[in-house]
Each structure stands twice: as structure tokens, then as C-alpha cells.
């Protein structure tokens, strides 16, 4: 497999202010990466470096095996799709005209525009001015723009902002399809509800540095966040070691467990006759994100003190 993106020891400084600590990141063909972090965490800087919009202060950036800031690699941009946060397209043009303009700039057949607008559900609104579009429709137009010419690398900043749940689902399906075709995708966000299933790897950033990276499972193990086990039933026995971490509810009990305790406890509880229902909550991406970013903010407070 080919490395689509390769960042090695990449650093970015703006007049002695460090926007990005040395960062290593490798993306392979067909990989979907979630890039999470607060505003100012370094997400946008990372994206801009990959796009070749800014030069790294140190380290090397390789996209499709080339330095993206060089003018020779400008042709490679044809294989690249990008949608940033808060873009407002030319209000006085229609959706179709906007897309046609971008298609021409990318040297792509203008006929593809109709198909793409259809795909993102803007077929009926194609002839209307963008001025009349809702936020969700603008976002979908932006996605159609990013998907022009079947990109090999797709960088999306806050792609689901303003999309309704149905459109969000559609969007994730589309990402999954693109992944099948070998497209590498970077999804950039604060937190994306429901994105867990669709990403191979997550990178959590804070203050310009990577706080954690790996698959969601890796992150769960690293974070050692407790999972929650809810058991319904009457006259339940709780293992002695968990007594202090259990809350007795009206119709059952709720316990916080570590990953290692999960299986023994479940077996113990299931063996009891009074159990009527059982459910398990793994820490969600949001929990992990909160965990990692909180540690970051915490250390910042210590710095100040």
C-alpha cells in the first residue's frame, strides 16, 4: 500500500509562537482518519500543511510522495478534495453555476456536476441561487465541490455541520463508499456524533500537539475509562470489589467497571436468577475526546500555577 500522506517531525511556528509541535502522521490508501481537537488545537494547521497552503517550519511533508508546496505538485491537486469550515459560496450564482466553475478550474467534465448535485440531494435546487440555500444545502454543495473528479485524498473540516441526521447518515455512507474505492479521507471536527463506525483511526490534538492516536480500541485501552454496566432485576448480588462503585437503582443496579473487570462481572451478574435485562455502555468517542482534552487543559492549568 502506498502512503498518501506522510508527515515526519513537522513543526509550524508563527513568529516564535508554536502552532504545531513536531508531528508524525502517516495515512495509507483507503484509510479514514478522524482528526479531533478544540479550536486552536492545530487541526487546521495540519490540514493546511497537507494541502500545501503553508510551509512547515521544520520536518518534511509528503503528499502523493511530493512536497505539496512545490509548484510541480500543483497537478496532484486534481486528485484532492477539500471542504473547509464556514465557506460561503458565490451568493449570486446558482448551485449548478458554482459547481461548474469549480469543475472547470479542476479541469473536469462539466457534465459531472449534474450527477454530483443529484448525489448530494440538490438536484431540485440546482437552478436556484445559492443566496436562497439553507445552511445544510450550502454544506451539501460544498461536499459536491469536494467530491469533484473522484479525489484520491479528501480533507473535510466539520463536514456534517448543518446537516440533518438523515443527510449525515447519507454522508457517512458516501465516505464508506469512497473508502472502498481506495480514497483516503481525513475528517476534522470537534466531535462528530456517530462517526465511530466509519473511521479507522483517530488523532486527538490539543495545543498543537497530538494527545493520543490510534484505533478507537487502542484509545479506550490507553484512556482506561470505566465502562458502565446497567443490570435490571430484583434481589441482585453485587461483587464485593464493586460495592463502592455501584449505584442501587429502583429496578436494578448501575456499575462502573474497568475493561479487565468487564467479562468476569458480566458472567457473575448473568448467573443470577433475578436478572431481567442487562446493557453495557462502552466509553464513546465523545467520552474519550473529553478525557484526552481535559488532561491537556489540566496540564495547562498546572503550567499557569
Amino acid at each position: 500500500m502506498m502512503n498518501i500522506v506522510e508527515l515526519v517531525g513537522v513543526e509550524k511556528r508563527y513568529q516564535n509562537v508554536r502552532a504545531l509541535a513536531p508531528l508524525d502522521l502517516v495515512l495509507q490508501e483507503g484509510e479514514v482518519l478522524g482528526l479531533f481537537g478544540h479550536n486552536g488545537a492545530g487541526k487546521t494547521t495540519t490540514i493546511k500543511l497537507i494541502l500545501g497552503l503553508i510551509k512547515a517550519s521544520a520536518g518534511s511533508v509528503r503528499v502523493f510522495g511530493q512536497d505539496p508546496t512545490l509548484s510541480e505538485s500543483r497537478r496532484e491537486r486534481q486528485q484532492l478534495g477539500f471542504l473547509q469550515e464556514n465557506v460561503s459560496f458565490y451568493d449570486q450564482l446558482t448551485g449548478l453555476e458554482v459547481l461548474r466553475y469549480f469543475a472547470r478550474l479542476k479541469d473536469i467534465k462539466v457534465s459531472e456536476c449534474h450527477r454530483l448535485l443529484d448525489q448530494v440531494g440538490l438536484k431540485a435546487a440546482a437552478g436556484r441561487r445559492v443566496k436562497t440555500y439553507s445552511k445544510g444545502m450550502r454544506q451539501r454543495l460544498g461536499l459536491a465541490q469536494a467530491l469533484l473528479g473522484n479525489p484520491k485524498l479528501l480533507l473535510l473540516d466539520e463536514p456534517t455541520v448543518g446537516l440533518d441526521p438523515l443527510a449525515t447518515q447519507d454522508f457517512y455512507h458516501r465516505i464508506a463508499q469512497l473508502k472502498e474505492q481506495g480514497c483516503t479521507v481525513v475528517l476534522c471536527s470537534h466531535v462528530l456524533p456517530g462517526v465511530e463506525k466509519y473511521i479507522d483511526r483517530a488523532v486527538v490534538m490539543g495545543k498543537g500537539a497530538v494527545l493520543a492516536q490510534g484505533s478507537l480500541n487502542d484509545l479506550r485501552h490507553q484512556a482506561e475509562l470505566p465502562l458502565t454496566l446497567n443490570v435490571k432485576g430484583l434481589g441482585l448480588n453485587i461483587p464485593e470489589s464493586l460495592q463502592s462503585r455501584a449505584t442501587i437503582l429502583e429496578d436494578g443496579v448501575s456499575m462502573h467497571l474497568s475493561l479487565q473487570e468487564k467479562m468476569p462481572t458480566m458472567q457473575y451478574m448473568l448467573a443470577q436468577a433475578g436478572v431481567t435485562d442487562i446493557d453495557l455502555h462502552l466509553p464513546s468517542l465523545e467520552d474519550l475526546y473529553t478525557h484526552y482534552t481535559r488532561t491537556c487543559v489540566g496540564s495547562e492549568l498546572e503550567d499557569v500555577l
Binding site: R77, F89, R104, L105
Partner: protein, 275 residues
């Protein structure tokens, strides 16, 4: 199609759609015909005046209005795209910064040229058809010269607008700076020159003064049109150019120099603009 043409074509179509082309053309046409017909009203006559009077008064009015229109047309060319986020997006496309900037300037330049041609051209047509004392043959050359120099003046100020647009990060700041540029070139420079003339009590080399006028494109524009009618008495500041008659070619060439300087400057500044 090269990206430059794509960008320029979009810019031009925008100009047609948001009525810039139409408004500029109408303003110019009304201005020119109005001056031609009512130009001698002060002398108690109504009706078409002589061609030289018309062109000279047209030049001294256009010198205020063309720079203003050009600056208004183009001041948000880059900073506007930056504010709406499309600049960042466009630069991730397979086109370079200079191609984007050239395309935009070309588009706005075409809007300016097209509407100037239509506006003043239709005025010339009206004069040719209805003014009794003006023949086609004497009309064509001065009017062509006037339109050519007007287009060049418009382009120069479009280029100024782009210098402003690539160096600021807010649209409102660009608008303010555009106004200052207009004020400096159209009003302050001439006042300063007059002040210098009066302050030194004319004790400056008379040979030098006409060349000082070359430091301001709006003065060059007026000189181009006034010197064509060599028999006319030069008035006001233009009178100081009487000692050294600069040829029309020299004047047009200096307008071209004035055009290339801000274009090159805008390109250089845009290349260094941080995103």
C-alpha cells in the same frame, strides 16, 4: 481552458449579472451626451458644443469618476473571497496564485473596458448622428483616444484596488484605503503641485514641472486628451505643461508604465499573503 480564462470569464459574468457593466455604461453615456449637449449652457446656449470643448470637459469630469468606479469595482476582489472562505478553497485547486490574481484582474479589466467602450462609444454615436457641426471624420480619432486613455486609467485604478485588496484582511479596511487612494491621486496631488508652484513663486525650473505631472496617472490622462487639441488654451494646472509638450505616444506609454507597476506589486504582495 486555462484557469486564468475561467476565472476572468466568471468575473465578467458576475459583472454583467450584478449590473456593474450596465450601470457604468449608462453613467458614461449620460455624462458624455449631457456634456456635449449642455456643455455651453453656462454661455446661454443649449445644443451640441464643439468637439474640443466636449472632450476637454469630459476628461476633467471623467478623471474624478473613472478612478472611483474602478476602485469600487475591484477593492474586494481578493479580500472579499478571503472573507467568504473561497480564497482558501481556490488555492487548493490546480491553479497558482498568480493565475488566480491575473484572472480576476483580467475579468475586472474587461468589465471596465467593455462598459467604457459601450458608454462613451454610444455618446460618440449620438454626437455623430445628431450634432450638426461635427463630422464623423473629426470625431473618430479624438474619441478613440479618449476611450483608450479612459480604459487605461480605469485599469490602473483596478490594479491599485488589487494592491489594496491583497494587502489587507478586512473588506472595510480595503474600502477605506481605496477612498484614500482616490483622494490622494485625484485631489491632493494636484493641490500639492499647485502649492509647490505658488510656494516657490514659480522659481522652479519650468522644464521640470510638466514631468512632475507624469507622477500622477490622472494628470497624464488629462494631458493625453487636452494636448490632442493643441490649439486650445490650457487652463489651471494643465497650463504648466505648456512649456514642454509631451507627445501622445509618450503619455500613453507612461500610462502603461503606471499600469504595470501596481500589477507587478499586487502579484508580489499576493504571493506573500499569509493564509
Amino acid at each position: 481552458m486555462t484557469p486564468i480564462v475561467t476565472v476572468a470569464a466568471k468575473e465578467f459574468r458576475d459583472g454583467l449579472r450584478n449590473r456593474w457593466v450596465l450601470s457604468i455604461a449608462i453613467i458614461f453615456a449620460v455624462l458624455a451626451t449631457g456634456l456635449a449637449y449642455f456643455g455651453s449652457a453656462a454661455a446661454g446656449q443649449v445644443g451640441f458644443t464643439s468637439l474640443s470643448t466636449t472632450i476637454i470637459s469630459l476628461a476633467s469630469l471623467a478623471v474624478f469618476i473613472i478612478p472611483l468606479i474602478a476602485l469600487m469595482l475591484a477593492y474586494d476582489g481578493i479580500v472579499g473571497e478571503d472573507e467568504s472562505g473561497t480564497l482558501l478553497l481556490l488555492l487548493t485547486y490546480p491553479l497558482s496564485r498568480w493565475q488566480l490574481l491575473c484572472g480576476k484582474m483580467l475579468g475586472h479589466g474587461a468589465i471596465m473596458a467593455f462598459s467604457t467602450l459601450i458608454g462613451f462609444g454610444s455618446a460618440a454615436l449620438i454626437m455623430g448622428l445628431f450634432a450638426p457641426d461635427i463630422s464623423w471624420s473629426e470625431l473618430v480619432i479624438p474619441f478613440s483616444l479618449f476611450i483608450l486613455s479612459a480604459v487605461l486609467l480605469g485599469w490602473i485604478f483596478i490594479a491599485f484596488a488589487y494592491v489594496i485588496s491583497v494587502s489587507v484582511t478586512e473588506k472595510s479596511k480595503a474600502a477605506g484605503l481605496a477612498l484614500i487612494v482616490w483622494f490622494l491621486f485625484v485631489l491632493v496631488f494636484d493641490l500639492g503641485l499647485l502649492g509647490l508652484l505658488v510656494g516657490t513663486q514659480g522659481d522652479v525650473d519650468a522644464e521640470l514641472f510638466p514631468y512632475l505631472l507624469l507622477l500622477n496617472p490622472t494628470d497624464i490622462f488629462r494631458l493625453v486628451n487636452i494636448t490632442y487639441f493643441a490649439d486650445q488654451q490650457l487652463s489651471g494646472l494643465m497650463a504648466i505643461a505648456e512649456h514642454v509638450r509631451l507627445s501622445t505616444t509618450t503619455l500613453l506609454a507612461s500610462l502603461l508604465v503606471w499600469l504595470s507597476v501596481p500589477v507587478v506589486l499586487a502579484l508580489a504582495l499576493f504571493n506573500r499573503r499569509a493564509l
